[in-house]
């Protein structure tokens, strides 16, 4: 039983209305494509990685306000950090950066974490697996 649900935090609304890094990266070398519309959410994360550093991050998302906001926040968190730092980013970190999500929307932040994992895996695959720990 919980009492906090909607409305979204102001930060969620801000990222929903003014999503950062919305779009695609033509020369992305890591793409994470997760979710599907039947579940209500689908997220595609584009990363440009240079020398173990994320130099650019963009997204396209089909989903609710929380899905869009977590996508936006995730790309913000990712830009400019190392792969090692990126691997440490959890769904909780994304949710917290947004001042929290309603319980029923936690799965959106989980999707962000999954998109990141998928993108990193894609990068490893492209670069021959030499980026893993």
């Amino acid at each position: 039983m919980t009492d906090k649900a909607f409305p979204y935090s102001e930060k969620v609304m801000d990222h929903f209305m003014n999503p950062r890094n919305m779009g695609e990266i033509d020369d992305a070398n890591a793409i994470g494509d997760v979710g599907n519309p039947a579940c209500g959410d689908m997220m595609r994360l584009y990363l440009k990685i240079e020398e173990d550093k994320i130099v650019d991050a963009k997204f396209k998302t089909f989903g609710c306000g929380a899905a869009i906001a977590t996508s936006s926040m995730l790309t913000e968190l990712l830009k400019g950090i190392s792969l090692e730092e990126a691997r440490a980013i959890s769904n909780k970190a994304v949710a917290e950066a947004l001042d929290g999500l309603p319980p029923v929307k936690i799965h959106c932040s989980v999707m962000a974490e999954e998109a990141l994992a998928a993108a990193l895996k894609d990068y490893e695959a492209r670069s021959g697996g030499n980026g893993s720990n």
Binding site: T2, A5, M17, P37, G40, K60, F62, C64, I68, V104
Partner: protein, 407 residues
């Protein structure tokens, strides 16, 4: 967030209390606050008279006898009293019930519980427009069918069912027939005698009455048991001190609806046509849901390919337009589990593929909405839709020639 415009297009979820309804309720909070069971003193008597008057007003609206109206706390309770109450009082009538697949949760979840208790439930399919086929009802009836329950109008897709035809079949087979009129009563003409139904759910807050009050019409001669025990109020069928101001409000809302209905319907049909036509012209990827003609006046429902419903609603809300994705009062996301986020059972029932259901929108207009408000929505829709299309990976795929919606 732009101007301070607030346009309420979510009348299927709830309606504002009409000022005249509220005016009539006021005395019953502070002055005429007696308990109707206090028969012996003035305040009790006055409260009682208020109940009688309201009962008459509601009866008039649906053309029933006065003593065929039982006040409850909401449509959900009326639905439960109508089904569970009948089955409890008539255990010999058989263990089979018939509902449709587009019922409200207060019917669907009852049916699930009844299944647990050994009842068999036939769930009727609906056609693309959401219509139940009366012939399918007849085919579903068995020797041991105890009751049929069907929603008069569906809140999510607006479709109005062929109740009279179904009632004739029910009557022919001697089966008790309950119609869930929660969002229909007070909004479209309903005559229980003409329709020939046994029970009808009535919800005040869906036609400019207050929340916290509903009613059940129960045809004279039908026997039901209460769903909870107590001091025998409401002819022994619904115990608990009566919500007198709420009942007074329901009564006046019913009276106003009786008088103003033709005018309201004409107005809403005009707005509805205007919105439908405008959306059809301006939104490229739109798909309307529900029946094009057999639908609630002023009720427009649709989904838009490539974009998701909640984000669309949120953007519209920021621009001052309040609408719904599916049935707002059908489920409570607060503390609900992920299951509730699944596609609407109503939309999948009418054949919208599950993957597209999350794009559904319901715009339900009310008697006080204006053409100007409809025009505003039509004005802002294209840019909002465009913004979401730009964000959508599905739309990006489509532009690349991999349209997920064309098989």
């Amino acid at each position: 967030m732009g101007d301070d415009r607030k346009i309420y297009f979510d009348h299927q979820a709830s309606t504002p209390v009409d000022p005249r309804v509220f005016e009539a309720m006021i005395p019953y909070f502070q002055e005429r606050f007696g308990n109707p069971s206090s028969h012996i003193h003035t305040e009790g008597v006055r409260a009682n008279q208020a109940l009688d008057a309201a009962r008459g007003q509601v009866a008039e609206l649906v053309n029933s006898e006065t003593d065929e109206i039982i006040f409850t706390s909401c449509a959900t309770e009326s639905n439960n009293l109508g089904l569970r109450g009948f089955l409890k009082a008539n255990p010999d009538k058989g263990r089979h019930i018939i509902i449709s697949e587009i019922e409200h949760y207060s019917i669907l979840n009852q049916a699930l519980k009844l299944k647990d208790e050994g009842y068999e439930v036939s769930t009727l399919k609906v056609a693309e427009g959401g219509l139940i086929d009366p012939e399918a009802v007849e085919n579903a009836i068995r020797e041991d069918t105890a009751l049929i329950s069907v929603n008069l109008a569906n809140s999510e897709i607006g479709t109005i069912q062929p109740i009279k035809e179904i009632a004739e079949i029910a009557e022919k087979h001697g089966v008790f027939f309950h119609a869930d009129g929660a969002i229909a009563v007070g909004n479209i003409p309903i005559d229980v005698k003409e329709l020939g139904i046994d029970a009808l759910t009535i919800s005040a807050h869906n036609f400019y009455g207050p929340k916290g009050i509903g009613a059940l019409y129960l045809r004279g001669g039908n026997n039901i048991s209460p769903i909870f025990e107590g001091g025998f109020q409401e002819y022994g069928m619904r115990s608990g001190t009566e919500n007198v101001p709420g009942i007074v409000g329901l009564g006046v809302a019913a009276e106003l609806a009786s008088i103003e209905m033709p005018k309201r319907i004409e107005h809403l049909q005009k707005l509805g046509k205007m919105l439908w036509k405008g959306l059809e012209e301006e939104i490229e990827y739109i798909n309307f849901t529900g029946h094009p003609i057999q639908r609630l006046p002023g009720h427009i429902s649709f989904w838009i390919r490539y974009i998701e419903g909640e984000s669309l609603l949120l953007m519209l809300n920021i621009k001052g337009v309040m609408a719904a994705s599916g049935s707002a009062c059908s489920s409570n996301l607060k503390g609900a589990d992920e299951e509730d986020l699944a596609a609407s059972h109503v939309l999948t029932a009418i054949g919208v593929p599950a993957e597209f259901c999350s794009g559904s929108l319901t715009v339900s207009m009310g008697k006080d909405n204006t053409e100007e408000e409809v025009r505003y929505l039509l004005d802002i829709m294209p840019e909002v839709v465009e913004k979401l299309l730009m964000m959508s990976p599905l739309y990006a795929d489509k532009l690349r020639g991999k349209d997920p919606y064309s098989k």
